[in-house]
């Protein structure tokens, strides 16, 4: 059986995440919205990356450019200060993916 479209996107995203985290090891990556639920087909892939500094945000956006040019990824980049201000992770029940195996990401 061929891979489902959301799995293709998630697999590519995880590969990119691992590569980019080598450059920004303190960044934390989360999925939220439809891909983090059982709703199918997926709409956008909502991705939150929280990093220490604005410079890290800029690096991550640049490094994600290739995958964001191929899949409908809605990229939300926040510094830790911004995330703490709006409490986005808790409010959106975002699921951390930087420490989870791929099989847990896509249900």
């Amino acid at each position: 059986m061929t891979e489902a479209p959301e799995q293709t996107a998630a697999r590519a995203l995880c590969e990119e995440m691992k590569r980019i985290m080598a450059r920004t090891p303190t960044s934390r990556w989360y999925l939220f919205g439809s891909i983090a639920t059982t709703k199918r087909p997926i709409g956008d892939i909502d991705l939150l990356v929280v990093s220490e500094t604005a410079a890290d945000c800029a690096t991550i956006r640049a490094e994600l450019d290739a995958i964001c040019s191929q899949f409908p990824i809605h990229l939300l980049l926040m510094t830790t200060v911004e995330e703490a201000e709006v409490d986005f992770i808790q409010g959106e029940s975002a699921i951390e993916i930087s420490r989870a195996p791929l099989s847990r990401l896509i249900r």
Binding site: A4, P5, E6, T8, A9, A12, E15, E16, R40, P41, I42, G43, D44, I45, A54, C57, A58, R61, L64, D65, A66, I67, C68, S69, Q70, F71, P72, I73, H74, L75, L76, L77, M78, T79, V81, E82, E85, V86, F88
Partner: protein, 218 residues
């Protein structure tokens, strides 16, 4: 990472659409064209592009009447359409939108008339404001607004729930100069860092209602 071809992207979109309710069949007609049969309405034909910036040259091959395309969808969310590309599609009675909009038009009888809700909301608001003489859609989210007795305003309409510093910097990279950033999400707000970045960029961040008041001031 490996770059998908146009055909692979179109196949990816087709696979997703096949999972959608009310879709009975999805045919890949060519590398950039899909035909979607629906249980509730007549089939529609979609053109698929996958670009960071959709310009007129990208749209031109898809507006050929023989293809019968009713909507052109750009897959990447982190992207934008130039005003010229949108006008070229409109002039050919073709709707434009995102991958997510393709899922939305399954429930739209006349796909050619589809407009994203946010665009409808913004443009209806601008049309109804007494101070506005006319407006020009420079790019998808960038409007130049001509006002009675007041200088033009260049406005970025940002539909973000949480407007971050990165959103503002990205908007400036994409669209160039603008003096006002409007948060069009009714529940949206800007982070303190976004406000700080706005100050350095010389941009005012306003929610929708305050923006309407701002239109009456120099």
């Amino acid at each position: 990472m490996a770059k998908y071809t146009a055909a692979e992207t179109t196949e990816w979109v087709a696979d997703n659409l096949r999972k959608a309710g009310k879709v009975s069949k999805v045919e890949v007609i060519s590398d950039q064209v899909l035909r979607v049969a629906r249980s509730n309405y007549d089939p529609f034909v979609a053109g698929i592009v996958s670009l960071k910036c959709v310009g007129e040259d990208d749209v031109r091959p898809l507006v050929t009447p023989q293809l019968g395309i009713e909507i052109i969808a750009n897959v990447p969310k982190e992207s934008y359409w130039t005003g010229g590309a949108i006008r070229l599609a409109q002039d050919n009675n073709i709707a434009t939108g995102s991958y997510g909009d393709l899922l939305r038009v399954i429930d739209v009888e006349d796909v050619r008339t589809f407009q994203p809700k946010e665009t409808e909301f913004v443009e209806r608001g601008l049309r109804q404001h007494d101070r506005i003489l006319s407006f020009d859609r420079v790019h998808d989210r960038l409007y130049r607004v001509s006002r009675k007795g007041l200088p033009d305003l260049t406005v970025a309409m940002l539909n973000e729930y949480e407007l971050t510093a990165d959103h503002l910097r990205t908007a400036r990279d994409r669209y160039g100069q603008f003096s006002v950033a409007v948060i069009t999400d009714p529940n949206g707000r800007a982070t303190s860092s976004a406000e700080e970045v706005a100050e350095t960029l010389g941009v005012e961040i306003l929610k929708w209602a305050p923006f309407f008041g701002r239109l009456n001031k120099k």
